[in-house]
């Protein structure tokens, strides 16, 4: 290969890689999923990877032409749609036994089975026999966050991975969770919580589901792996549709700017309850199980309430609006010139809402010049303001020397938003924009592990990015 060609080829590769990066980022703009109202799904087998190096057989729903997914495809439809889902049973099992029937269950929807494709009758709903199909139909009458899962041998089939999320967008349009202005949001993220007992998956993989009869695993269930959107931390912070995780296409990596409203759609998708704690601020729970918390139709979420931990119980969904602005820190979140000239900035509030019109800085916390000639640490003007090196609203304490500290991978080196300061070699690095990062995690802290290895499991990081950082 001549040099020119090699360079061109390299350039092409870089361009292609960049394009891939951009498109991957673009795909994260809204909640990943497939749009309806008509879906061709199948149930088939696959393998999930866990960050401890594990690999486990799953049964998962797959989009048309796709692989089995953990969780199944997030189905996104509009209020009023007549949703039609045809499920093909492509499951196969080890040991030469016959594959089980499979089905779909849609809590909160009035489902009818298409009489032309009704499969066979199961205990709870109509099922597709191995190789066969079944078609379900419902009108998405109410907007909201819902779940779906297998209605066949549910204790086993949900554990194997046959569950997913259903999102019904309101008639009010994009940017609303429900048909009321108080349900508006700027960004939305799915937090579908599940856990896994690997013993069950190992028996099914090697002996087929019949092998479970000789065990008590479905009854003495003991989860040791925990997932958000089908990935355990830190895998859930990689981009969606990562080639290393072909059966786990969805990530969980929320980002937002100060002042924005982030809609959390939280789903308890397996058998344990999880207290989902979101660092940073309270969130307002506006709906449960796809129903707005309102006292009368049209009232809006007047029965909503604020929490710092969402009690996610099996089968439930919660819609919560989270926001963060740093209001009331009593120090300048963007730093003061005391910390260096690069921290000089203005707080411009023309609309009188106390926040900077662009950056959403809380202006009462913005620094001002001050004099402290008697060196008592307070401004001489009698305002009672702290005064340090000529500036008010500096950070009120001295941080320890770097040698006395352990640094987090998401630490920017600076206590201030949007700034970076040097860290010792190898420290930090995951926070290139100087954002504030907050862990969102199960507060059953045992679940912050991957099969005995801490940290991992049911956790991710919210990044509050400073104004100006592009969040797709």
């Amino acid at each position: 290969m001549n040099k020119h060609l090699a360079l061109t080829s390299l350039r092409l590769t870089v361009t292609a890689a960049l394009f891939l990066l951009l498109s991957a980022a673009g795909a994260a703009a809204a909640i990943d999923g497939i749009s309806g109202p008509t879906f061709q799904l199948s149930a088939s087998t696959g393998y999930v990877s866990t960050p401890d190096g594990g690999s486990y057989l799953i049964w998962g729903y797959a989009a048309e032409g796709g692989l089995a997914q953990y969780p199944g495809p997030t189905l996104i439809v509009n209020q009023g749609d007549t949703v039609r889902i045809t499920l093909t049973n492509n499951l196969s099992v080890a040991g030469g036994g016959s594959a089980p029937n499979v089905s779909m269950f849609f809590p909160g929807q009035r489902v009818v089975v298409d009489q032309a494709d009704r499969g066979v009758a199961g205990a709870l709903t109509s099922e597709a026999v191995p190789g066969g199909t079944v078609t379900y139909e419902f009108v998405a009458a109410h907007p909201g966050t819902y779940t779906y899962y297998s209605g066949t041998d549910t204790a086993l089939q949900m554990e194997m991975g046959l569950f997913g999320a259903l999102i019904v967008r309101p008639a009010a349009g994009a940017g609303y969770a429900y048909n009321h202005p108080d349900t508006a949001f700027d960004r939305e993220y799915l937090f579908l919580l599940s856990e896994m007992d690997p013993r069950i998956h190992q028996v099914v993989e090697t002996q087929g589901p019949g092998g479970l009869a000789a065990t008590n695993h479905l009854a003495d269930y003991f989860g040791v792996l925990w997932f958000i959107n089908g990935r355990a931390a830190p895998d859930n912070m990689m981009e969606s549709n990562h080639p290393l995780l072909p059966h786990q296409p969805y990530n969980s990596f929320p980002r937002m700017h100060p002042g924005e409203k982030l809609l959390m759609r939280v789903i308890g998708a397996s058998r344990d309850s999880h207290p989902f704690h979101h660092h940073g601020n309270h969130a307002r729970i506006i709906a449960r199980d796809g129903r707005l918390l309102e006292s009368a139709p049209g009232a809006g979420p007047d029965l909503s309430y604020e929490v710092f931990t969402i009690q996610s119980v099996p089968g439930s969904t919660h819609d919560a609006v989270f926001t963060w602005s740093g209001k009331g820190l009593n120090w300048d979140v963007y730093g003061t010139p005391d910390a260096g000239p690069q921290y000089q900035h203005d707080c411009v509030d023309n609309d009188g809402d106390d926040f900077d019109d662009t950056t959403h800085e809380y202006c009462p916390d913005h620094y001002a010049e001050c004099e402290d000639n008697d060196l008592d640490g307070l401004a001489d003007d009698g305002s009672g303001e702290r005064c340090k090196n000529g500036w008010t609203k500096t950070i009120p304490v001295v941080l320890p020397n770097q040698g006395d500290l352990v640094f987090g991978a998401w630490y920017s080196g600076s206590p201030y938003l949007g700034s970076l300061e040097p860290l010792p070699p190898g420290e930090g690095g995951l926070n290139p924009n100087g954002g504030f990062s907050f862990m969102w995690h199960s507060h059953t802290e045992k679940e912050l592990t991957n099969f005995d290895i801490f940290p991992g499991g049911m956790m991710t990081m919210l990044i509050i990015e400073p104004h100006g950082v592009d969040i797709p």
């Binding site: 931990t309 950070i395 304490v397 320890p400």
Partner: protein
């Protein structure tokens, strides 16, 4: 380990910590406005600025005694507030401070009680884990639930900083809102929380001191700024749900691999004690293993007069499961959840009466017990887990997560 060998370890390790502290130039640094001698309090001519509170905690290890008599190894905090870090002649008293903090871990951690609007300066000094000289764990303080947090003071080591052995880190927070919060170490959270670095934290509302009449009685203390008195109370008690896995603690002191995956708690507790220790009003006897330092200062005994309203500030910081707490004989009026008044955005009350609340790790509940005016003195009600198998202290039946509400 016999006590002689253990003492030898302590001497060796104490020497090591002090030496490291000196050579690193780090040492104990308590930051508290108006406080000159590093005691995190104000004595003599020191002036406490208005709306300012300070506290000095150590992070380290120690021992407690479970209700069945078993001595358990813990990681934990202890209260060093009031102990000068600087002598009258300016001498460095870091060694005295470290010595006081070493092996002094208490369970639960010292309660933090604040008022809305306070500026709170909390200094955490990592005194090292005396019984685990192989560990170099940093520690943090995470104010669980404080609104509008900033990463630098959130105590989450992944997103900011944690403090090494022999050094201090001061957290600053302007207390914005009242309510029942909690605090814990977030460094290697699963391990440091299972082993005991947890405590009560609550904030009294600005409305305290005002008088509101509610159902015929005047109140001047409230759970929240309700504006009309329904969260008024006569006496309040923080009640923290916790539970330990004795195998995990055993593996920790024995320097064995920690059983994260198999974690299953067998010592259910309220405020760090199993019944009947929960109703012992005094500190529990100091275990010899920590050099006779009292390590269980909190109890969970609830006392009230007939007709009083009793505010229970319930939080849960166990790391393995949900617990349900029930009352017998006196219902609970739930007025708050997660440090927020249970009230809709346009003012609709969402309070409810119940005999049980289910609380997961990291959740809090404000429950008011309305003691009947007719309750006879000597009446005992019970607050206990309705997960009945947790009414035990490991192998010992009739104990665990239960306490008494005694009517004087």
């Amino acid at each position: 380990m016999n006590s002689g060998l253990r003492f030898a370890w302590q001497v060796l390790f104490l020497g090591g910590v002090l030496f490291a502290a000196q050579t690193a130039g780090a040492g104990v640094l308590v930051q508290c406005p108006g406080d000159k001698n590093g005691s995190a309090s104000w004595e003599g001519d020191e002036v406490q600025p208005p709306n300012t509170k300070c506290m000095h905690l150590s992070g380290g290890d120690g021992f407690i005694t479970m209700a069945d008599g078993t001595v358990q190894y813990i990681f934990g905090f202890s209260d060093l507030t009031g102990l000068p870090a600087i002598g009258p002649l300016g001498e460095d008293l870091a060694s005295e401070v470290l010595e006081a903090g070493i092996l002094a871990a208490t369970f639960p951690a010292p309660p933090i009680v604040l008022d809305e609007g306070d500026e709170f300066y909390l200094t955490l000094t990592n005194v090292g884990m005396m019984m685990r000289p192989d560990l170099f764990d940093p520690h943090t303080v995470h104010y669980h639930g404080f609104p509008e947090a900033a990463s630098i003071f959130d105590g989450l080591p992944e997103s900011a900083i944690a403090i090494n052995m022999g050094s201090s880190l001061t957290y600053y927070y302007k207390v914005l809102e009242p309510g029942t919060f909690m605090y814990h170490c977030h460094a290697e959270a699963t391990e440091h929380m299972q082993t005991g670095m947890l405590g009560n934290l609550y904030v009294r509302p600005a409305q305290d001191g005002e008088v509101y009449n509610y159902q015929g009685r005047n109140y001047s203390k409230f759970a929240y700024n309700d504006g009309d008195g329904p969260t008024g109370y006569d006496v309040d008690y923080p009640i923290q749900i916790g539970s330990f896995d004795s195998r995990f603690h055993g593996a920790s002191i024995d320097v064995q691999p920690l059983p994260f995956a198999l974690m299953k708690d067998d010592y259910p507790m309220l405020n760090g004690r199993g019944y009947p220790d929960t109703v012992d009003p005094g500190p529990l006897p100091a275990p010899g293993e920590n050099g006779d330092k009292e390590s269980q200062l909190e109890n969970a005994l609830i006392t009230a007069e007939p007709g009083q309203r009793v505010l229970l500030r319930i939080s849960n910081l166990n790391v393995t499961r949900f617990y349900t707490l029930g009352t017998l004989g006196v219902p609970m009026l739930i007025v708050g959840k997660d440090a927020k008044l249970l009230r809709g955005p346009d003012g609709k009350d969402l309070y409810y009466r119940t005999n049980s609340v289910t609380v997961g790790g990291g959740e809090s509940i404000d429950a008011i017990l309305e003691i009947p005016p007719t309750a006879a003195p000597g009446t005992r009600y019970f607050l206990y887990t309705t997960n009945l198998n947790y009414l035990s202290n490991n192998m010992e039946e009739f104990g665990g997560m239960m306490t008494e509400i005694r009517i004087n």
